[in-house]
């Protein structure tokens, strides 16, 4: 028995060694103790010390991200886009405010508990200044209260759930970047009622908050006089086949279908309906606005499918910004350029812009103030002209404007996404 105890003790000692870098952190002069190190940090939400995460040479930023686990690796390109852009800024623009950007990313395996651990590690060990692009709805939901209580800027949340920016007063430190799924559903609903009045609508959605928000939005956007939802089908992201759902959609007589699905699911939706010889008008969520879709389902099948996006497409290599993005990814990145890496660069650019505006007052509050002030109808390089980002104290939605995209085929038989119609403002929905 006592031997067992010593065994446990020895094991725990390994833990001691495992956190060797804690001391390194403590040895680095970090100025005044920060909120994370205040004993009663939970009782009174103290504003962070000005220097936490900022040294003479570095600005330390962090993120929790699903890097391993079953679903994780699919989103890695976003992260690689952010990271490559920061590397590029450090190497070619001399960093920000005379400091290098250090971007620390901790794996959360897409789990809430993993995110809690990851954030604790980032705050305490890496002494991050701000959270940039934390990924995943459930994972981020477990940590954002904590970040807000501690006063850590929680910028560009990588999830389109409705809640992030719904109440900026309750969560003043959290800023969303991805368009709201609910709003997306609304926009598509309105578009359907305007252009496909009288047609029956089918809904195909992932069985989680993504599908749920989109469906609620769709119902909100559809004009009940003009269109009726005849079938609501859900699928699990892990489903092997969605044919059963597609048959039900077809049999319901739907003529227009909105798919709240991620690329593999959407590709199946489109392929299966083709097999059934059924070709309704498809709308799919903006996560699918990527050239990869033409690989997943052929350009011929994709033709006419409508989605939304606000960024320049990764295959517009004639555009100087995208050409530059390809160069950045080639030189600093580990992954090929795609729309996910473009999104990553957008996040990187916004971060750098905000930090530049904060140089005189490099504090967390200062960063938030900058975020609230400089992004006033801001036109970024990445967004297509007219797509403006607007943030303020009481508006924490990042990208709120998008344009419709329709899939077409170019003269080489390759699939392309073409923007059409007016810019749609999410805020007005």
């Amino acid at each position: 028995m006592w031997l067992s105890l010593i065994g446990i003790a020895a094991l725990l000692l390994v833990l001691v060694v495992a956190c060797g870098d804690d001391e390194e952190g403590e040895e680095t002069p970090t100025g005044t103790p920060a909120a994370a190190e205040t004993p009663t940090g939970d009782k009174t939400p103290t504003v962070a010390g000005p220097d936490e995460g900022i040294t003479d040479t570095e600005i330390i930023l962090g993120a929790h991200f699903a890097l391993s686990g079953t679903m994780g690796a699919a989103y890695a390109p976003v992260l690689d886009g952010v990271r490559s852009y920061f590397k590029y800024v450090n190497a070619e623009e001399g960093g920000v405010c005379g400091r290098e950007i250090v971007y620390k990313v901790e794996d959360d395996q897409y789990l809430p508990s993993g995110a809690v651990e990851a954030v604790a590690k980032l705050l305490e060990r890496d002494h991050i200044f701000a959270m940039i692009a934390g990924l995943g709805t459930a994972a981020h939901a477990a940590v954002w209260d904590d970040l807000n209580e501690k006063g850590i800027p929680d910028l560009w949340i990588m999830s389109g759930a409705h809640m992030w920016a719904a109440d900026p007063e309750a969560h003043p430190w959290s800023v969303a970047i991805l368009p709201d799924y609910y709003v997306e559903g609304t926009i598509i609903g309105k578009y359907i009622s305007e252009n496909y009045a009288g047609k029956k609508v089918g809904f195909f959605g992932q069985n989680d908050e993504f599908g749920e928000d989109e469906l609620a939005g769709l119902k909100n956007g559809l004009d009940p006089e003009k269109n009726e939802i005849v079938s609501e089908q859900t699928y699990e992201p892990t489903d092997v086949s969605v044919r059963s759902q597609v048959i039900n959609l077809k049999n319901s007589g739907a003529e227009v279908v909105h798919g709240a699905c991620i690329p593999p699911g959407c590709a199946q939706l489109i392929k299966e309906s083709d097999r059934l010889g059924w070709h309704p008008q498809f709308f799919i969520g903006y996560v699918n606005a990527d050239a990869m879709m033409f690989d997943y389902a052929s350009p011929e099948l994709m033709e006419g499918v409508i989605t939304l996006q606000g960024n320049k497409m990764a295959d517009w290599t004639d555009d100087p910004v995208i050409a530059e993005h390809h160069r950045i990814m080639d030189e600093y990145g580990n992954m090929p350029a795609g729309n996910f890496t473009v999104e990553g660069q957008l996040v990187g650019e916004l971060t750098v812009e905000a930090l530049r505006a904060t140089c005189d007052n490099l504090t967390r509050q200062g960063l938030m103030d900058a975020v609230h002030t400089i992004f006033d109808d801001y036109q970024g390089d990445i967004g297509i002209p007219g797509i403006l980002i607007d943030l303020s104290e009481d508006d924490h939605y990042g990208v709120e404007q998008m344009k419709l995209l329709i899939a077409g085929i170019d003269e080489n038989g390759k699939g392309t996404w073409e923007y059409f119609g007016d810019i749609i403002n999410f805020r007005e929905q």
Partner: protein, 430 residues
């Protein structure tokens, strides 16, 4: 009373453990500057979650290790306990201490309900049936969202979960959660101990070894098998409540089937039918997260995959060279020790104990991680000089098995088993 050296060591061990768990681990920031404290919030949270896994592993080990019933559905029980706790706390304003009993009861009731059909199943059939629970749990939680808040999840923050009164002024929320989890882990370990040592535990083991023989001894086999499920689920339910207290949020995605399967890995690696094994398995499983800290992997997008690939390899090696888990390896070492001369034994045990004390002392005096490393090196040097022959023998033995297996059909499976088993048994008899 004369203090014999093993007793002294035992007291020292307990004292160290208590010091480590109660003072060293959580209180890094609550104390004045200058004291060399090693741990902070991150380790505290990690340790808290390790406590939760310890709770689950204890329960699963009672079911699988002691009663021989396999379960791949324990996340369903954890989720049941967690959701019961979260709903009562967030929607009905119950304090944490009050939700423990309902969490245990609801989860235990589900365990009972599962235990009855499980009576007819065994082996992979039972594994499948229980896995079905883990598969179904997220769907059920999402579908009936009136109670469970559906895909939104439940956020549990506020007065229900914070420390009462004056304690709240002394510790942070994370530390408080840790003490709660630690307390639960300790209490439930003692309860598990009692269950196993008692009449019920003996019945479990008898049923595992032979249902027919157990029945002929007058043991009500169906009753005890169902009880095992219920007890196991109670442990998982309490773990779920502790999880909610620590993470402050629960959602259908909080647990998945893979996590369920990992629980099984935990207890096999730790040691089946061993309380110590459950604890070791859960802690070491938590430590896998730290593999990446030790490896110079850089920042490549795939850097995170390397540790998990290594983890897979490690799993294979550990299970191969330690067929009875970490607890079994320790037992083996104890056997080995029993045949040493007393002087050697003292060094072999005193070495690590001394090293640990030295490590604490040096680090307190000198500060920094240097002290701990020096202390550990001393301890390891003294100890390994004695363990070395045994280690080498163990390692080559493992290698021999590998070579023998590679060679082809020389090592007949049936026979290697019985030979090895008898080897193992005779070790135990000594």
């Amino acid at each position: 009373m004369r203090l014999s050296s093993p007793l002294l060591l035992r007291i020292l061990g307990f004292a160290f453990l208590a010091f480590f768990l109660i003072y060293w681990l959580p209180f890094s920031h609550a104390l004045p500057d200058g004291l060399p404290m090693r741990f902070g919030t991150y380790r505290t949270i990690q340790a808290s979650i390790a406590c939760v896994w310890v709770l689950v592993a204890l329960g699963l080990n009672i079911l699988t290790g002691y009663n021989g019933q396999i379960s791949l559905g324990h996340t369903a029980f954890v989720a049941t306990g967690g959701y019961t706790a979260a709903i009562l706390m967030a929607d009905h304003g119950w304090p944490f201490w009050a939700v423990l009993i309902p969490a245990a009861v609801v989860s235990g009731a589900l365990g009972l309900a599962v235990g009855i059909p499980a009576l007819r199943l065994s082996g992979p059939y039972l594994a499948m049936a229980t896995m079905a629970l883990a598969l179904a749990a997220p769907q059920v939680l999402k579908k009936y969202d009136g109670l469970t808040h559906g895909t939104q999840g439940i956020s549990v923050r506020g007065d229900w979960s914070t420390a009462p009164g004056f304690i709240g002024d002394m510790v942070t929320q994370d530390q408080w959660s840790y003490f709660v989890a630690l307390f639960l882990a300790v209490v439930m370990t003692l309860i598990a101990w009692n269950v196993i040592r008692g009449r019920v535990g003996r019945a479990f083991v008898a049923i595992r070894d032979s249902e027919v023989a157990a029945a002929s001894m007058g043991i009500n086999v169906p009753r005890y098998k169902t009880i095992a499920f219920a007890i196991s689920a109670i442990f998982a339910g309490i773990a779920g409540a502790a999880y909610v207290q620590i993470v402050g949020y629960i959602a259908p995605e909080s647990f998945n089937v893979l996590r369920s399967i990992n629980f099984l890995t935990t207890i096999v690696v730790g040691g089946l039918a061993s309380i110590l094994g459950s604890i070791l398995g859960a802690i070491s499983f938590k430590m896998v997260d730290d593999i990446s800290d030790f490896l110079p992997l850089g920042e490549g997008p795939m850097a995170e995959q390397v540790p998990w690939a290594l983890y897979g390899g490690l799993l294979i090696v550990v299970v191969t060279i330690m067929p009875y888990g970490m607890a079994g390896a320790i037992r083996r070492f104890q056997m080995w020790l029993a045949f040493r001369k007393p002087s050697e034994r003292r060094v072999a045990l005193g070495g690590p104990a001394l090293g640990i004390v030295a490590a604490i002392a040096v680090s307190e005096l000198a500060g920094g991680s240097l002290g701990i490393i020096v202390g550990l090196v001393v301890a390891l040097a003294i100890t390994y000089s004695l363990w070395l022959p045994a280690l080498v023998r163990g390692a080559t033995r493992g290698y021999g098995r590998w070579v023998g297996a590679l060679r082809g059909s020389r090592g007949p499976p049936g026979f290697v088993t019985s030979e090895d088993a008898s080897d193992e048994r005779s070790d135990a008899e000594r």
